[in-house]
């Protein structure tokens, strides 16, 4: 009997009490990157990790922060809220990071925001758009990137000028629904005719929705696609296949047409697609931005998308803040970020706070929106042209 108990206890102890691997404390300051790496929009996740690694490499080459080296730890949120929450909790508890960056999908970040606030670790958002993220007015959430309401406002003049009937095809998640609802509201207020159709983010066959749009009368002249997941490249392709495009212009809500996969899937049919972005050939980058762009191109052999610039800014801001307050404790960092004044890659970054309900809280507002159009294709990629403003 005694032996039997020992046996059970042994099995239990063997499995439970083995030391966790990779949790060794070192003489470094840790920076967490929680981003989709296996499922969800892992294409962008990969760029996020590369960007942070490059930034940290540069910082360490100049002597690190507070005399210590910065270290990057990564975790995969799988593009799913529950997995993202667990990944973030594990990262904070296990790695004792000073701050978390690289968060991507809005719906995941919304859940993660609660965790970061509760566990008192600052998180910075470089391209998660939903308003809710900063609307909670948490002291631990900072956003360099833009937000849905801002983007919709910035894009509206272009849409209003050129189109009368527009269609919005959106993912039914925090980002997609939020963007579509806001755009629909302000576009209708301007007297535009709006059709909007949502679809689950995992969907890859969007022909039913596109066929519904095709049957609408009057015909939509513009299709705005608010998507992050798999369907990003498939919607333009399928819209072409059922004969909806190119009569109807396609406006992608962010920079994914610049990814190589877009070209592989659409080929020369991708010419004519437009997309909203915060980058343009006419945008003048700061010296820091030019330096980063060059270094990224040299290391990974592609031009970084605009959100990589914002993410790069964030890492630099974190390093600068730690130096300024002489501490890498997450709570101190969160408090110190408030007073940021940083000459970033695209402009001077400060975080604004507006009392009263609304998403403007620890939010940078200095974005400038452009609409680009793919004009021609050559072997390596599309040529693009800024059509607005």
């Amino acid at each position: 009997m005694k032996k039997s108990v020992l046996l059970t206890a042994f099995i239990f102890i063997l499995t439970v009490f083995l030391p966790p691997i990779g949790a060794m404390a070192g003489d470094t300051i840790k920076l967490g990157v929680v981003t989709p790496m296996s499922t969800g929009d892992f294409r962008s996740g990969k760029i996020n990790v590369q960007t942070v690694e490059l930034a940290v490499e540069q910082i360490n080459a100049q002597g690190g922060v507070l005399g210590k080296k910065l270290e990057v730890v990564t975790a995969d949120d799988e593009g799913k809220p529950a997995a993202g929450v667990i990944a973030l909790k594990r990262m904070i508890a296990k790695e004792k990071v000073s701050a978390v960056v690289g968060l991507w999908h809005s719906s995941v970040a919304v859940a993660q925001e609660k965790v970061a606030t509760q566990m008192q670790v600052p998180m910075m958002l470089h391209y998660s758009w939903t308003d809710d993220l900063t609307a909670g007015h948490s002291d631990y959430v900072y956003r360099v990137g833009p937000f849905n309401a801002e983007i919709a406002q910035l894009a509206l003049p272009y849409i209003d000028k050129n189109f009368k009937n527009i269609a919005i095809l959106y993912e039914t998640n925090a980002f997609g629904s939020g963007f579509a609802n806001y755009l629909e509201k302000i576009a209708k207020a301007k007297g535009l005719n709006v059709y909007s159709i949502g679809y689950p983010q995992e969907a890859t066959d969007l022909k039913p929705q596109l066929l519904q749009l095709k049957a609408k009368s009057p015909k939509p002249e513009l299709l705005v696609i608010a998507a992050v997941y798999e369907a990003t490249n498939l919607i333009p392709k399928q819209a072409l296949e059922i004969g909806l495009a190119p009569e109807m212009q396609i406006l992608c809500s962010w920079d994914w047409p610049t990814y190589p996969a877009f070209q592989e899937i659409l080929g020369d049919k991708g010419v004519g697609v437009t997309y909203a972005t915060f980058e343009s050939d006419k945008l003048k980058l700061s010296p820091l931005g030019e330096k980063f762009k060059k270094a990224y191109k040299a290391k990974y052999n592609v031009v970084p998308p605009v959100f990589a610039l914002f993410l790069y800014d964030e890492v630099m801001i974190l390093a600068e803040t730690m130096e300024r307050i002489k501490s890498s404790d997450p709570k101190d960092v969160a408090a110190g970020l408030k007073d940021t004044k940083f000459e970033g890659t695209t402009g001077l970054i400060t975080f604004e706070r507006q009392e009263g309900p609304g998403p403007i809280w620890n939010q940078w507002m200095g974005h400038q929106l452009f609409i680009n159009k793919l004009t021609a294709v050559d072997g390596k990629g599309y040529k693009r042209e800024q059509i607005y403003p």
Partner: protein, 287 residues
């Protein structure tokens, strides 16, 4: 619009039928459920992709290449992992097969992420020009996929009907013991049938690769569709699978348009549930 929807429903329905007949065949000869069926579809798609990009094959070479590779893979899987169902006296062969093939599903999917990478790929269009059917513009790829699917399904039906081997398979479906005493080597026929079923799935994947594009997780949806087709058409019935595939394709396209696009995938499941509960023999299957 209705005409366009029906034509689109038929083209996709033929591909569903192609997936379904493979499963029907497998279920008939081996009496098992294969949850990894969709993964062979995925592998077939990737094989066609690599055959066309790396070896520069046209579709009339790349699709057969995909079929041959998935045939071999299916046969090997049967030999290594599923054959104990026949060779050993197994208490619950169905449960064994369910869990085993589910393990295979996870395995192939995860392996594909590591081997093929998680990014979406697309082979070059098989037919670049569009085709007009009754005034409806359909891409050449879709027409090709529908036509080749129909040819393969009908070819399989003829093979099953006319040849000795096909007759042996049908006999095995209807009475395993009868087939044994008549000299059918069920062990051997199982791996051949499994290979053929997987090759059909691989062909489906290869055919629609330029339409739906490839990613390691694309196996899920066709797996679901093939089960719906098999349940509606009746287990082990080829003609039933063909009709059920068309029925499913058309109902789904119409339902998604007229009822709700968000519930498109529920339509097939509800049809499957209805048939399983109230007409388990399916449209043409035997009880």
């Amino acid at each position: 619009m209705l005409l366009e929807l029906i034509i689109r429903g038929i083209t996709i329905g033929l591909v569903y039928a192609l997936m379904g007949v493979g499963l029907a065949l497998l279920n008939g000869v081996m009496r098992i459920i294969n949850f990894a069926h969709g993964e062979f579809y995925m592998i077939g798609g990737y094989m066609a992709y690599y055959a066309s990009t790396m070896l520069g094959f046209q579709f009339y070479f790349s699709v057969p290449t995909a079929m041959i590779i998935t045939f071999i893979l299916g046969a090997v899987v049967e030999k290594l992992l599923l054959s104990p169902i026949h060779t050993q006296e197994m208490e619950k062969p169905m449960d064994y097969a369910l869990i085993m093939t589910f393990g295979l599903l996870l395995f192939f999917r995860q392996l594909a992420i590591k081997v093929f990478g998680p990014f979406r790929h697309k082979p070059a269009d098989y037919i670049t020009s569009d085709v007009y059917i009754l005034g409806v513009k359909i891409s050449g790829n879709e027409v090709l996929a529908g036509a080749v699917s129909a040819i393969l399904v009908i070819g399989l039906a003829i093979f099953i009907k006319k040849t000795w081997r096909g007759r042996g398979w049908r006999a095995t479906t209807q009475s395993r013991q009868g087939a044994k005493i008549n000299g059918v080597d069920i062990g051997k026929e199982s791996w051949i049938a499994c290979g053929v079923a997987c090759a059909l799935a691989g062909a489906a994947g290869a055919l629609v690769a330029p339409i739906f594009t490839l990613s390691p997780t694309i196996g899920g949806s066709p797996l679901v569709k093939s089960y719906e087709v098999m349940a509606i058409g009746g287990l082990g019935s080829i003609a039933g699978s063909l009709v059920a595939g068309l029925m499913l394709g058309i109902t789904e396209t119409l339902g998604a348009f007229y009822i709700s696009s968000a519930y498109k995938d529920a339509i097939g499941f509800l049809m499957m549930g209805f048939f399983l509960l109230f007409r388990p023999q399916g449209l043409f299957g035997q009880k």
